[in-house]
Amino acid sequence: MTDVDHGRGRRVLITGLAGTLAGRLALALEADEDVEYVGGVDLTQPSHELSRTEFIRADLRNPLVAKVIESTRVDTIVHLSVTSEPGAVGGRGRMKELNVIGTMQMLAAAQRAPRVRTLVVRSSTAVYGSHYRDPALFREDSHPRAVPRGGYTQDVTEVETYTRAFGRRRQDVDTTILRLANVIGPDVHSTTTRYFSLPVIPTVLGYDPRLQLLQVDDAVQVMHESSKGGHPGVYNVAGPGVIYLSQAARMTGRPTVSIPARLTGPLSNVLRPFSGVDFTSEQLPLLQFGRVGAITRLRNEFDFEPRYSTRAALQQFIDSGRVTPVIDRTRLVGLEARLGDALSRTLKRVT
């Protein structure tokens, strides 16, 4: 396949192919006639049924990556190999290695590859942190209140720093940084989806944060568009609108339990094996003060309008059957009508 001469079509390499977003993007690229070649790098086998994507088992931290970029002769790299869950990769130390050192090596190799014209890097709105003195809507040029001290936030911040450095050195490359909100969808398995699937949703006592979600189809479409080039810059990507955590919990029909902020850490450590939710101390401010990015730039400069609002994304996730509501909405509507009718009958009798 690598023998085919550089023709009309684009040649795309995806890192972190085993992830849901990467797999979905590979499927979209396979269906795209303008894409001549799709390659994917990861350590584990991709989970999606891919037909013409070439899977390359490689570690991004290995200098071999330069050979992969060279031999596949790709002109576009979509870097999705940044994980947010230490549990899935075997600990925080390894997660940092894979995220930060992997990105560093990959970008170093890409800088040497003259064919590369487009680079898309997945980041997260987590770079903004979460603080009570934050504005209600983060713009792409907002700076976080507190410098992240560790964890996923620090990883994505460093990944962005390396990416910006790459952009400065290779000004001929369209470098796009996508700051995705929490991605949700029927086929997504993340901390967010596991959290909303818990039988009882834990919240922080006295706090009700605003949340912002991104439907997986919209995420894939934005990445696909970015991979075509011509969208340099940093963009927040999220569904329009926000919901309160309490509102989201009501929508899922699950009861909530309020936990005092001081107890969240110890409790989540005890419950982690049962819940499967990595509720690290990093997530505590998010559950207190929330985090919302402004998507004005995505709409006006990128020219993309997400199909699913934050609310619709959650509703679609619920409707897909991933969460079985304890309190059913149609039954609530029925109950309301019955009570109302009973009331009007009673009132007719007494007048």
């Binding site: 009570y132 009501r250 007048t351």
Partner: protein, 330 residues
């Protein structure tokens, strides 16, 4: 006055029992008939119109409960929950507005029917009841029933329960980004530039305006190209008259101030009841900023000048209204 009590009892009973008069109903009918008419004057519990109103109210309440239980209500990007504000918070604060402080709103016509404007008001009263009353005043008295979106202190938004409640009732953090965003979206924004300095000042300094921040509100108005509406609130100073501020205790508890008022902590929990002063909220004539253009926000001299003009206007409005009042409580 549609029917007598006696007739009602028979009708209800006969319907419940399918119309067949049984031994029990007949006995009860006789007993009812035996009761002297004077004990049960023939006043119906409801007339038809009252019943329709009641049904309307209860059906509205049921719909509200259903919406809350299923998460079926909209909020805006800043977290304003209009459903909760209009159906719970405002009905709860309306008795304070109408009965307790008997607020009189003056010059409400100075608030525009649509489009952005910045309400700038004096701040007093230990707890920010003046902000709650101003919001209710504009919503209840203005023909367009507009919501004032308040710019709140960061410490208020940090506090548990109060912080989320503040966001839900339309508050957002007092910063330029949020304020300009709301104003350009055509919202009415309210700001109390004296901040903690105004709200925590001792009673002897009542109605003396403190420093108006650093004029950030003027920059915001200029950048958004909206008018500033000066607002003077009379009566808010007397709800918890502050005698002293216990700084060590405030520092210990992490509060911006710890007030000793006439009634608190002397009267214990009863001391939390605000005094029923008579309030006036006057909305002054708009001060335009659009003629300067958004670049003027970078001209500190002009910003200071307009800040002082707004401050003086509000101080004059306060003095005028203070002269006009007979006593603190009437």
């Amino acid at each position: 006055m549609s029917s007598t009590t006696e007739a009602q009892i028979i009708r209800l009973d006969s319907r419940r029992r399918g119309g067949e008069p049984t031994a029990t109903t007949r006995r009860r009918d006789r007993r009812a008939a035996a009761v002297p008419q004077a004990l049960f004057p023939p006043t119906p519990v409801f007339d038809a119109a009252a019943a329709t109103d009641l049904e309307h109210a209860i059906r509205g309440m049921l719909a509200f409960i259903r919406r809350r239980l299923s998460g079926d209500y909209p909020i805006d990007d800043y977290g304003f929950d209009q459903d909760l504000t209009e159906h719970v918070i405002m009905p709860l604060s309306r008795p304070l507005y109408q009965r307790w402080w008997r607020v009189r709103a003056l010059g409400i016509a100075n608030v525009p029917d649509s489009g952005g404007a910045l309400l700038v008001a004096n701040h007093a009263g230990t707890l920010p009841f003046d902000a709650v009353m101003t919001k209710l005043s504009v919503y209840d008295e203005h023909p367009s029933r507009r919501h004032v979106r308040e710019l709140a202190a960061d410490l208020a938004l940090k506090a548990p329960i109060i912080g989320s409640l503040a966001r839900k009732t339309g508050n957002t953090l007092a910063n330029a980004d949020d304020a300009v965003g709301l104003l350009t979206a055509g919202e009415l924004v309210g700001v109390w530039p004296e901040g903690f300095k105004g709200i925590s000042k001792p009673y002897r300094d009542r109605y003396k305006l403190q420093r108006f921040g650093r004029g950030g509100f003027v920059e915001v108005a200029m950048r958004a190209g909206v008018s500033i509406i000066p607002v003077a609130t009379i009566g808010s100073e007397e709800i918890y008259p502050i005698v002293a501020n216990v700084r060590p205790l405030a520092r210990l508890l992490g509060f911006p101030y710890f007030p000793v008022t006439w009634q608190f902590p002397l009267l214990g929990p009863l001391g939390l009841v605000p005094l029923p002063s008579k309030w006036v909220i006057e909305f002054g004539e708009p001060i335009r900023t659009d003629q300067y253009g958004p670049e003027a926000a970078d001209d500190p001299m002009l910003v200071v000048e307009i800040t002082n003009r707004v401050r003086d206007t509000i101080q004059q409005m306060i003095y005028r209204n203070l002269m006009g009042r007979r006593s603190i409580f009437f």
